[in-house]
Symmetry: C2
Subunit: 314 residues, 2 copies
């Protein structure tokens, strides 16, 4: 499917439910709300569906966008690579998605029509192109799309960012919205509980392999002491690898029956290979896994595996 | 002076020393090394002068750029708003700067020729425009200019970023260099000492005014315990304001005779007004000052002032 076909389909449909993925992030939400605004500007009924409650920081996405009640005649999924990622309460739509707009190369093709551009850093880039094709964009749409693109690229920091990403950002910023307020909300706003948790887990850092490896613990006790919720954990696993000289940064999260691992590595070591040894997987620089049993067992196991990979670096 | 005049001047000069400002950052260094490479590509002798030792993270800027020995016939200052900001060991050039390229509206005009564009988020944007005018750009120059622009905009996050900033970033990224490695080095690389210091100072957080104010201490003892240096402190003062609900975030750094203050505020409170009450100053969202005497005195003083301003917010 070409993007012009996707635009034509949007023009042809009405009474649309726009689905976002589980544990919604700025890309799925920003893209969906932008598309919703575009469709309403085209005179259509459209409504964004999302998992649970919207986090405070995303509230502005639905400003001046009243909820509408209607029976859907069209289901659109945005940034959802697999129908399993549709939130539980909307799984009844998983077999009847009319159009899926996505940037994941791993998209399973579960929808009746799928437009995937895996060169896009964010689904927001695709919605921007649709907005251009449909000739509809205003400052609210620009703000939502900026949110989508900024969050999925770590504010243009990550390797998925392309020249096109920057060119789209330039065009979005010509509209009147406070992009730096968006960035503050997305990247520089933490709960007191999160800050307390960060302090606790920084005190748990244990270096190994002459400082080329480091292990950080998120225990149930720390979660309780800090009062932090799961939302507060976002991004913390990036801390260990950010320490100079570290090749392998491990975060161990205590669960009922063992420890959930997040392994981040620098380009000299493959995180996916490390995690594969405990039955996990992921990407070369970021992977995950699980080790059952005691903290001592889990830590010794993952450190021994990491040391092996670190020792292979010249 | 127009930018075309600046380009013409660069074409006409040779044996150039390129000055960077005290406590050099990514913008002054990236801009200066880019200009140095441009001038060498034009067949000229050019050399960057900087304060002290280059931090490790900036080493790549001088890759394949051997030091040259020559007597200067031309002095160029980059990103230096005031001749006082020229490093002490190069103050002998402060009266004889032939060309100053800068983006600070506060530039004092100390040079014989000055090109200032205060709409540029970074001096790097100006050097990019010169590179275009002079027709010389390669991947090393692009990498240096990307470094300059990314650091001065917090990777395109801060309010100084403009559509032009993004358009220049897009053009730079068309050259072959690893921009995400630059971003990791600039934004996601901390010493072990810095991480330890962060843990210590997060445990010093004291909330006031129902959590709308927070005060963080960097004591001499913490510096000693962590082994952190002054370089490691960069950016820490942004932490208090990043906490949700905080209007005024204060960082107090212990000095021999009192406490150096960094005050960061959200848009509802003016940091400069707060600091003015203790004889300090700065910008609306970030200001500084100094209070002599004990910790207790300094803390009570700045908290009382902050509470007054916070209480004025509806």
């Amino acid at each position: 499917m070409k993007i012009t076909d996707a635009a034509d389909f949007i023009k042809s449909c009405d009474n649309a439910f726009i689905l976002t993925h589980r544990s919604p992030d700025g890309d799925t939400l920003g893209s969906a709300f932008a598309l919703c605004r575009i469709m309403r500007a085209l005179g259509k009924k459209a409504q964004v569906l999302y998992d649970g409650q919207l986090y405070d920081k995303f509230e502005y996405l639905k400003e001046n966008l009243p909820d509408l009640e209607f029976e859907p005649r069209c289901i659109i999924a945005v940034d959802i690579a697999d129908s399993k990622l549709i939130p539980a309460q909307y799984q009844n739509y998983s077999e009847s998605v009319d159009l899926c707009l996505d940037h994941h190369g791993s998209n399973t093709g579960y929808a009746k029509r799928t437009y995937v551009d895996e060169k896009s850093a964010a689904a927001g880039e695709i919605i921007y192109e649709l907005a251009e094709l449909l000739g509809i964009i205003d400052s609210d749409i620009a703000k939502a799309l900026y949110t989508a693109i900024a969050t999925d690229t770590g504010c243009f920091k990550f390797s998925n960012t392309t020249p096109k990403t920057h060119r789209i950002a330039a065009k979005l910023m010509e509209y009147d919205f406070d992009f730096s307020a968006v960035n503050r909300a997305m990247f520089e706003s933490f709960t007191r509980e999160r800050i307390k948790l960060e302090q606790l887990l920084l005190s748990s850092l244990e270096y190994f392999a002459d400082g080329r490896g480091v292990c950080m613990l998120i225990s149930k006790e720390m979660m309780e002491l800090s009062g932090a919720s799961d939302d507060d954990i976002e991004g913390l696993a990036a801390i260990p690898r950010s320490i100079k000289g570290v090749y392998v940064g491990i975060t161990m999260r205590e669960k009922d029956d063992g420890y959930k691992l997040s392994v981040r590595t620098n380009p000299l070591v493959n995180a996916c290979s490390i995690c594969a040894e405990v039955g996990g997987g992921g990407h070369p620089a970021a992977a995950g896994g699980f080790i059952s049993g005691s903290l001592k067992h889990a830590k010794e196991t993952i450190i021994a595996i990491s040391e092996k990979y670190i020792s292979q670096v010249n």
